[in-house]
């Protein structure tokens, strides 16, 4: 079945509920910033946010009070330093407390794989001993291999209510092509009950080779056409990562006041993503 083409506003309003488990995936590349901003505009609350690397988008959503819990494996501003809003939530409970379900990258990736495979858990080598396993006993445990007796680490499957991805293009049947670094996007997509995708462009034909990663339209609940939707992350072949913005974010997010002022001006003050890009001078 062909997924409906919705405005981003309609897609979020229809599919993202307060209290939902939501994964906005994309590893450094293709991070669905526009969708995250729309969730902030629609004032969603009590979300459990899943992402391997929370990145700036979850720093923003946490700081704006959307999140109750965070499932993640590395929470910094890549190459820059801290995510100050994430830190403020964990260290001081601002704007409110944040429950953490924290794992290693390999474990988080394996948890998505288990979810996508309909399994209750995934296994990893236990040689990877870390205090994280003891800090997170609700979601990891020792398990013996039934064939060799080797002790392995089991980690609980992740099955988001909604996964949201950004991709380069969709065709008229709603099939979606992702190119470049995909991170754990495809596993997060197939682990979810509902999959939303924003795309840079909609084209008559994807022009994809036989081994290209195409998500069939029939797995997708809705598509929204959002050019620039990954900015300040990037979309290979369309625009580069705005490394300058990632560096500037460190100063913007450092204090609650400067953060709220920026979010009010650029995200809440913009009706949609195009207006957001124009407010920053990134688009004409």
């Amino acid at each position: 079945m062909r997924p409906p083409l919705l405005s981003l506003r309609e897609a979020i309003a229809t599919h993202v509920r307060d209290g939902a488990q939501v994964a906005l995936e994309g590893f450094t590349h293709l991070i669905p910033f526009a969708a995250g901003h729309e969730i902030i505009r629609q004032r969603r609350r009590d979300l459990t946010l899943l992402r391997m690397t929370p990145d700036l988008i979850y720093d923003q959503m946490i700081g704006m009070g959307c999140a109750r819990a965070l499932v993640f494996s590395w929470g910094g501003n890549p190459g820059v330093g801290s995510l100050h809003r994430l830190r403020d939530a964990v260290e001081h409970g601002w704007p409110h407390t944040l429950e953490l379900d924290e794992q290693t990258h390999a474990a988080m990736a394996a948890r998505y794989c288990a979810g996508a495979s309909g399994l209750p858990f995934a296994v990893l080598r236990a040689a990877t001993d870390t205090d994280l396993r003891r800090a997170n006993t609700a979601h990891s445990a020792a398990v013996a291999c039934p064939f060799t007796g080797e002790i392995l680490t089991a980690v609980r499957a992740l099955t988001p209510d909604v996964t949201i991805l950004h991709a380069q293009r969709a065709d008229h049947d709603g099939n979606v092509l992702m190119e470049g670094i995909v991170g754990a996007s495809r596993e997060a997509a197939l682990a979810a009950r509902t999959l939303l995708v924003t795309v840079e462009e909609i084209v008559p034909a994807l022009g994809a080779g036989p081994n290209a990663y195409v998500i069939p339209g029939w797995q997708i609940a809705a598509i929204a056409h959002v050019p620039g939707g990954a900015y300040p992350s990037y979309a290979l072949g369309h625009y580069e990562r705005d490394n300058r913005f990632y560096q500037d974010w460190d100063g913007i997010a450092r204090t609650r006041d400067s953060f709220l002022a920026w979010m009010t001006q650029h995200v809440l003050g913009s009706a949609d993503h195009a207006a957001f890009l124009r407010s920053l001078g990134v688009a004409a």
């Binding site: 590893f27 450094t28 590349h29 391997m52 690397t53 494996s73 590395w74 929470g75 910094g76 890549p78 190459g79 820059v80 801290s82 994430l86 830190r87 964990v90 260290e91 924290e102 794992q103 290693t104 990258h105 390999a106 990736a109 394996a110 998505y112 794989c113 990893l124 080598r125 040689a127 990877t128 001993d129 870390t130 205090d131 994280l132 800090a135 470049g180 670094i181 995909v182 991170g183 754990a184 596993e187 050019p227 620039g228 900015y231 300040p232 990037y234 290979l236 625009y239 580069e240 990562r241 705005d242 490394n243 300058r244 913005f245 990632y246 560096q247 890009l277 990134v282 688009a283 004409a284």
Partner: protein, 249 residues
Amino acid sequence: MTAPAYSADEMMTVAAARRLRDGAVCFVGIGLPSAACNLARLTHAPDLVLIYESGTVGTRPTVLPLSIGDGELASTATSVIPLPEIFAHYLQRGRVDVGFLGAAQLDRLGRLNSTAIGPYAKPSVRLPGSGGAPEIGAAAREVFVVMKQSARTFVERLDFVTTRARPAAVITDLGVLEPDPHSRELRVCATFAGVTVDQMRAECGWPLQAAATVQRITPPTDHELEVLRALGARTAAAHGRPVRISLPT
């Protein structure tokens, strides 16, 4: 004494780069390890295979990435694969020779904390967290740690053990520590020019021992500095470029 014609960061980067043999498969972290691996690739180790956890295998970037997933890494890679495969099929399966790690705290056995200062549930400083470090520490054949040395970060007791690495060497801004073959405790095995063992002891939170013979590390050569600085200049120019997006009308 005149100040050396290179910075402590440059000395660390060069010392780390020299550890990499040509042809090794290297799991690269962002920052100084990434600079060291690319310096090695551009000097003595042209066939070094660089894997970044974002899923880029055999990447040959002309500028250093700011993030682990910059487009430059994908565009210059032999192959770009899903992240779960990087960790399961490459790292856990044992296809990685060298892993590079850094952290906020390190102890005398080379274990690392990159999670939290203070209690986990109520930290005084929440650090970014593990990322792939625990798996890299466990599965890479050889692990190098690169970290600036101070009594505040080289500690008697970690607040949180993120990674139980057994590093073959810890490269600091003062010199190099290696484990004692019997006790596994890290001890001074080499110093940079102008640094004494006592200085290294002063910047360490546990009573730091020294190997019977402490080597003196050769300062960066003109060629190493030239290549490293050119890489830095290309990187700065690329990262400063404004991003423009053209919206359909």
